[in-house]
């Protein structure tokens, strides 16, 4: 594990030294802030009309109406950004011919895979953390429940872990970063919307498709619930793709 951290550390250093990271961070924070701002202003508009709404039997809830949609939105923006972060992990090593350095060192292949995963997830976590200033703002002016916020962030990070696992896997397939990014985006997007097919599919097939959908498992988290079935889904998703990455790298050596 120590070796994985050594690799992750170098990797992080190189992300934070690259202009790409700062461009991505700016775009991410810009869009995220814009969306959150819109949600928030819509909420305050409704707050002014609270009296009428209460007559209709509804209550206003910051968690439900501001933080939850913001987190889901963040999941979408991360979906767009994470392929750009993960695309270089193995592709660049192969193109730069630096991979032999890792392979000739006394390090297990799985430690290399873990190092790459940790680094990419670390970069994206920094982005997620930076965007949470918005939650701080709500905390300052209102009184949302803390529990669902924490579980919501945990859910978003787990889902990001799935993006990263797919991204690292795609990057192990090719030395072309752009190809890796496109594969990642396509696949992650498919895993998001796969639930759409559930309605028209049969009953059992529909249930399976629903279960496979990445975003369906986020809902419980944003509502403050940690369901073991969701947790299992995300963790085994990550483990599965990291395992595939390991196998791909191993088989590339045999060729």
């Amino acid at each position: 594990m120590k070796n994985a951290l050594v690799i992750a550390r170098r990797e992080l250093g190189s992300y934070f030294a690259s202009p790409l990271f700062y461009v991505i961070a700016t775009v991410f924070l810009g869009i995220q802030s814009f969306m959150s701002y819109n949600i928030l202003s819509f909420f305050s508009y409704q707050s002014f009309q609270e009296a009428q709404i209460q007559q209709m039997g509804l209550t206003l809830n910051v968690n439900e109406m501001v933080i939850e949609p913001s987190l889901i939105n963040m999941g979408v923006i991360l979906l767009l950004m994470s392929p750009l972060i993960t695309m270089r992990s193995f592709s660049e090593e192969m193109r730069q011919k630096t991979f032999p350095l890792l392979l000739a060192s006394p390090v297990h292949l799985w430690e290399i895979v873990a190092g790459k995963f940790i680094a990419c997830l670390g970069v994206l976590s920094v982005l997620v953390l930076a965007s949470s200033y918005f939650v701080g703002f709500i905390l300052a002016v209102g009184s949302p429940e803390i529990g669902p916020i924490l579980t919501g962030y945990l859910g978003v990070l787990l889902m990001t872990g799935c993006y990263v696992a797919i991204g690292v896997f795609a990057s192990s397939l090719t030395d072309n970063q752009l190809v890796a990014a496109v594969i990642t985006f396509g696949f992650v997007f498919l895993m998001w919307i796969i639930g759409w097919a559930a309605q028209s599919a049969g009953e059992t097939a529909g249930e399976i498709l629903d279960y496979l959908s990445l975003v369906n498992h986020l809902q419980n988290f944003t509502q403050g619930m940690i369901d073991t079935s969701d947790l299992t889904y995300y963790l085994s998703f990550i483990a599965f793709f990291l395992f595939l990455t390991y196998r791909v790298l191993e088989s590339r050596r045999w060729r």
Binding site: S18, P100, S105
Partner: protein, 311 residues
């Protein structure tokens, strides 16, 4: 130190390395010589546990590369054909990273990095980005990362390729100095380079060992013989002694029934006499050919390449 036995590696149907066997003893500097595509890099990659072999065994320090790759990697420092350098890293940071990766204890990282920086004369560029260095300095950084964990064995794949003559002289001198403390296997396709640095040479061609000897031994044996492979429909001792009695033949050996290897005096066209004898006695000539490339041919090929670099 390094024991290679019957090593074979195939990419697709054709073997790139074909039943290679050789040894490198402790403290030796051995040159691995061969023309382009001979299989030098392939062999070295297998030795450093980067590529798996198709068959055969390689042992380093008694550890099998297939069963104990981590132990082997701890003891080897490898400079691949393309030095594995991250262009966006600063030389010092890169060497620290390499040291950590090789599990140098954290208390010793600084001193081992300083040590290789001094040995490889990198002091002036320690704070510069690797991507901005000249090829020669990059090569030295490559060498420095290979020895940062002070491995017993250094495997260097064409360490002087792409350098200008002055840098070549410097790197060769550096490797000679390293040879006092490390066991070194070094590949090259330049004969004079090997003669300057190494005590012993393994010459490979098309994946097979063409010769393996000390330099003196090699040059001495070179001029003496020419080898013929002969296949007859009849075998046996009397056939062999019949062949051996020819004037042009120095020695004859039967490798399997009807198959002979003849060592002949060179320049005497021994094929003519051998064929005449075989036909006269009615032994049934199936095949007679000089061994595809004699050492001389290989040497010629090696020496004519970049002959001007003799510094």
């Amino acid at each position: 130190m390094i024991e290679v036995e019957n090593l074979t590696k195939s990419y697709g149907p054709r073997p790139a390395v074909d039943r290679l066997s050789f040894q490198v003893n402790s403290g030796e500097v051995v040159g691995f010589l061969g023309p382009n595509g001979a299989g030098k890099s392939t062999t070295m990659n297998i030795l450093c546990c980067i590529l798996p072999a198709t068959s055969g065994t390689v042992k380093v320090h008694g550890f099998d590369v297939f069963e104990n790759p981590l132990e082997v990697r701890k003891r080897i420092g490898y400079l691949p054909e393309n030095p594995p350098l991250y262009p966006d890293m600063v030389v010092g940071d890169f060497l620290k990273f390499a040291a950590r990766l090789r599990q140098v204890p954290s208390s010793k990282i600084k001193s081992s990095v300083d040590n290789v920086v001094e040995k490889c004369m990198l002091g002036d560029v320690k704070g510069r980005l690797i991507g901005r260095l000249s090829k020669g300095y990059q090569q030295r950084v490559g060498l420095a990362q290979a020895m940062v964990h002070d491995p017993a064995i250094l495997v260097l794949d064409e360490p002087t390729i792409g350098l200008d003559p002055i840098q070549i002289i410097e790197i060769r001198k550096l490797i000679r100095d390293l040879g006092r403390e490390h066991t070194i296997l070094l590949s090259s396709h330049i004969l004079p380079e090997v003669t300057q640095i190494c005590q012993r040479v393994v010459i490979i061609h098309e994946g097979r060992i063409a010769a393996m000897d000390t330099l003196e031994g090699l040059t001495a044996s070179l001029k003496k013989t020419q080898r013929l492979d002969l296949a007859l429909r009849q075998g046996g001792d009397d056939v062999r002694s019949g062949l051996a009695e020819l004037d042009c033949v120095i020695s004859a050996a039967e490798t399997s029934s009807g198959k002979f290897t003849l060592e002949c005096h060179p320049g005497s066209h021994p094929q003519d006499e051998v064929a005449r004898l075989v036909l006269d006695r009615g032994w049934g000539l199936d095949e007679l050919r000089p061994v595809s490339l004699s050492l001389e041919d290989i040497f010629l090929q090696l020496t004519t390449e970049e002959k001007e670099v003799t510094a």
